[in-house]
Symmetry: C2
Subunit: 169 residues, 2 copies
Amino acid sequence: MKLPDPESLYARLKEQIEHAFPNRSELGLIGVHSGGAWIAERLHHDLGFTLPCGFLDSALYRDDFSERGMKTAPKPADMPFDVAGRQILLVDDVLYTGRTVRAIVNHLFDYGRPAKIELAVLLDRGGRELPIDAQYVGKHEPLKPNQSFVLTRDEQGAFRLGLEEKQGE
Amino acid sequence: MKLPDPESLYARLKEQIEHAFPNRSELGLIGVHSGGAWIAERLHHDLGFTLPCGFLDSALYRDDFSERGMKTAPKPADMPFDVAGRQILLVDDVLYTGRTVRAIVNHLFDYGRPAKIELAVLLDRGGRELPIDAQYVGKHEPLKPNQSFVLTRDEQGAFRLGLEEKQGE
């Protein structure tokens, strides 16, 4: 399969968010480690949000933690604004089962009860296992269960997209 | 506004579910009290599910419990099948902010980790405050914030739909 160009996806996502939130002075932007955090950081820089960017890691909160375990050490959460009563834009790189999003939303509620949480993702690969959906999507690109997108950054900070295929599944 | 006929919406929803789940022998059907429970009961009867129907009440689990309080006494949960590893179809009457769905999904995980949870609703009235969506929808019918749909049943068990409008909001 020909992989989509992640820089084009990012440009499309940025445009959607710019259009949906003409006033970004009170909007709380939160990136999910690691890919979502990179995207949130770039959105924060490119679109000029007033509040600093927040970061969350889902690793410790997913319902399948006991099966997946820790692939990498969880990164510290950073919530530099009040969540209670605030409109929140959550950013992740790839939307798949929805389990990460459920975990992150539950985690967010530990900080306070937001007025609204919306979700922006670079890629929706389908395969949802929970009734969760994103409001802003760079591209819908269905993958097989044994495949996964891998987002990385080059030395200049530009996004690169790879495809991982597990054998024997 | 002209209200949609809830019996036509039900017929449309039933058809979607019949088509999406040709094999209903292992599917766990769960209705959310009260309206969702009525719809789930009818689906269970009309489509011939093998497992008994489950029921949940969101009142105690919503994140705005302290603001809303108890309008009516919560109905007891009834989960007559194993949730762990199972495909679940959650049924509610109206999808609005998504807060009820989040509460119900979290509550479901107290029983075990389902393989998949999908959501069916008679009406999606828009106004989401969480990144939640339904897979099966009788109709999308946006309402104003001061309006709400009220589903009732007549003596024969047929659905009736009303519109409630709060003044001064």
